[in-house]
Amino acid sequence: MRSMARRRRPGGAPRSPGWLALLACLAVSTTLPAAPPVERALKGERCVEDTATMRRDHMRFLEHQRDATVHGGIRGARHSLKGCIDCHASARTGSVAQAPTDFCISCHAYAAVKLDCFDCHSTRPARALAGVAK
């Protein structure tokens, strides 16, 4: 398809001048949303995996871990959702998914990927809830 379009071009509309293309590029770059703000984790120096691995594979780690936890009763392992929430809950909202700037929502909104973890799971670490209760 693409090669056909390329072949048709010389006979079609006259090529737009270079400055117009540059202007169009500028317009696009100003309308594209900037990279999402990612809050730094509250505690801990480094994540359980390096950043690139976590960006690409966190959902696979979580899915694997959840079966081990629910069916096997293995808790507190390396890739637990509670572990994520413990470190990444926002200092301001105390949650990973309450405000649009909170850790999980920030990226997921940018990538337009709906996440339903928090339909069931708490978005706050246990210590924050204990603080609220007191």
Binding site: D67, G73, I74, K82, D119, C120, S122, R124, A126
Partner: protein
């Protein structure tokens, strides 16, 4: 060296690998697991997972359960973030059932929760495998694969399961729950996995001064619950169904 001596040495070497007659490496590994996992009645250490040697259960003494007392129900609601049920469709993991014998007029109050059957009908009927029994005998719902069809609710002879009809908020971090899933008593599985040996209901019942609920490992002959079950007559509800529930009742 003669041929016979070489063969003899080979056999001796093989015997060394097999350790001793009847003992295989796998058994040694399991024994080591049990030793450092503080397995058995102590519950699985963090990260070890459900222990297949354990069968968790409850023994409920109906002669000590007080009529009108809802300590266990309230503790369960608080522990698992169920809130106070107001509508008939709200989730209830423990129901207090008041019974009265017609001839004698004897009354008893019986808390009924998931009976954690050895042969759970809810697991048999589940079309997605969401309803399952853990290695240590606890019957649970994996909400990740529950589609909310509610077959398990119909299959359960104890009416132990509830369906969540409305979106939920502020769940407990240890007890994720959500709309569209079936749920029931988990024997406080999050506590057991932490190594605790008391469910919220048993704890509250003792705190209220009744001590009617005893939690423990039915497979460990040295545990309090095993001793009581051995010494005192107790019954399983609907024993005729041969489901072998892990919850037993005394004085019914």
């Amino acid at each position: 060296m003669s041929r016979r001596a070489v063969l003899g040495a080979a056999v001796a070497a093989l015997a060394g690998v097999a350790l001793a007659p009847g003992i295989r490496l796998i058994e040694v590994a399991r024994a080591a697991d049990g030793a450092d996992g503080a397995g058995g009645a102590a519950g699985p250490a963090a990260g070890k997972g459900a222990d297949p040697k354990v069968r968790w259960g409850l023994l409920i003494d109906t002669t000590r359960c007080a009529e009108g007392c809802t300590a266990c129900v309230d503790a369960c609601n608080a522990e698992n973030g169920l809130g106070t049920p107001s509508r008939p469709t709200d989730a209830r993991w423990i129901r207090k059932v008041e019974i009265r014998e017609l001839r004698t007029g004897r009354q008893a109050s019986v808390p009924v929760m998931c009976q954690h059957c050895a042969e759970p009908p809810c697991v048999d009927v589940c079309p997605t495998g969401a309803s399952f029994k853990r290695a240590d005998g606890i019957v649970l719902v994996d909400r990740h694969s529950c589609i909310g069809c509610r077959y398990c609710m119909m299959a359960c002879p104890y009416k132990a399961r509830s369906f969540v009809h409305e979106p939920l908020h502020d769940q407990k971090p240890d007890v994720p729950r959500g709309k569209g899933c079936v749920e029931s008593c988990t024997l406080c599985v999050h506590r057991i996995d932490r190594g605790e040996k008391l469910t919220a209901c048993a704890e509250a019942c003792s705190a209220a001064g009744h001590g009617a609920i005893l939690f423990g490992d039915l497979n460990d002959p040295g545990s309090e619950i095993s001793r009581r079950v051995r010494e005192v007559r107790s019954r399983q509800l609907r024993a005729d169904l041969n489901l072998d529930p892990g919850v037993r009742y005394e004085g019914l």
